[in-house]
Amino acid sequence: MDFKESGFMYGLAVFVIGFVVVESVFFIVKAFKRGRELGLSKEKMKNAAISSALFTVAPALSILATVIALAGALGIVLPWIRLSVIGNLAYETVASETMLEVFGASLKQPVTDPSQFGAVAWVMTLGTSFALVLLPFFCKTIHKKVGQTVAKSEKTSKAGDVLAAAAFIGIIAAFIARAINGKTEDGVGDAGLMSIATLLTSMAVSLILETVCAKFSLTKLQPFAMPIAMFAGMGMAVLLGLALPESVAAWTWWRQI
């Protein structure tokens, strides 16, 4: 049996992933109890959970796709562990490729040497764990400072609300800008016809559903509005991919330049 997919590796995966699930359950239970004390309705909290689960499906499938992509070289278990925990789509690929390059290997071939496999696991882990060292020292301070700033602003005016919204919008704007004018290293997913059509479709569907929910008081539909809008955007990408000639569907600003 391939050592990368041995019972030992699966045991390791169950242990690490179990840790993350137990942590999530712990925080959810504590938050739910606190929500009840604060007078938040059960339905509001349940809606947050349902909406979040639906919202997660498509990005989780993309993460699963990365697990599968890395599995060719690293076996299925190590990418599974890494992308179920602190990992990230881009980090894990870059970290493993960088390590393998030092050995003169690459992700295109299966890793057969356990010490190279161990080296990849070290680089993946050490590269991405630094935030866990920072958080115990700085999370509380940052959180307190921001809370104080917002509270102070709210005393004098509604500036706190506007600034909090501006910060959110700043984050979303980065992704919208990339969908309009971004380029990728490998040329897959460059901004152009497909990205803008996807973006506009999900925005339009989101706005329509939001309006319908508000107008007809459809509180049960509301948590599903954003996930439905996201799937609609993805559906548009598939439709355009099928309906348009490849040269048109693949059109991007960057290929024109």
Binding site: V20, F27, A31, S62, L64, S115, L134, C139, E185
Partner: protein, 222 residues
């Protein structure tokens, strides 16, 4: 009295979060240690160092910036959970923001803290279940689904525009006056550095968005 209770809850979250973070760090480090011990295969440390020297400045620098940027957005519980479970930009952050928006609560309020924690926790469990199910049951099928030649491939290639379009529309409608400027700044930055990842670009757009909002408030446009 209420303030005291609120402080106590936040304090407790930070205590739990610190303990879980240390636990997570130990658990994660156990993976390479266990692999090396079990297979009796310790890699040459100079080689590992050669790779680390290339990736650590980027990853650790990004970690500092991510902690500073995401902590105020995700709330305390959401932050501790997100940094253990990863995929923050493309998953945990939109989930937390979307849930708070739907519930009509503010980040940095205790209600926002509760909703964000529930959303991010559920998102993590859902991700874990989907990946585990995919690995154990659907791995061969998924390869076909996401294959570049598959008809479904564009859906996964453009998952981020779909996700942030759905999330952004509501915000933009409510705050359209302050939304245009950061998007234009983002587009302008990308003209000079087109491959800049969203995780880095967002510092420019956040500064533009907050700066723009402050100017608009001063001019009494909002």
């Amino acid at each position: 009295m209420k303030n005291k209770t609120e402080r106590t809850y936040f304090d407790r979250v930070h205590t739990w979060g610190r303990l879980w973070s240390v636990g997570a760090l130990i658990t994660l480090l156990l993976v390479p240690v266990s692999i090396c011990v079990h297979f009796n295969a310790w890699p040459p440390m100079q080689e590992v160092f050669k790779a680390l020297i290339k990736v650590l400045p980027i990853y650790w620098g990004t970690a500092v910036v991510e902690v500073l940027t995401y902590t105020p957005m995700l709330g305390a519980g959401g932050t501790y959970l997100s940094f253990v479970s990863g995929n923050i930009t493309n998953l945990k952050l939109p989930c937390g923001l979307s849930a708070m928006e739907n519930a009509g609560v503010k980040a940095n309020s205790e209600e926002g803290e509760v909703i964000s924690t529930i959303a991010i926790g559920v998102s993590e469990i859902t991700t874990t279940v989907i990946i585990a199910a995919g690995v154990l049951l659907f791995a061969p099928f998924l390869g076909t689904l996401t294959d570049p030649d598959s008809v479904f491939s564009p859906a996964f290639t453009y998952v981020l525009p779909a996700l942030f379009g759905a999330l952004g529309a509501g915000y933009f409608r409510k705050h359209w006056r302050i939304s245009v400027f950061p998007i234009l700044i983002g587009i302008a930055v990308l003209l000079f550095a087109p491959t800049l990842p969203a995780g880095t670009l967002l510092f420019a757009t956040i500064v533009a968005s907050i700066g723009g909002a402050l100017v608009f408030m001063k001019l009494k446009w909002i």
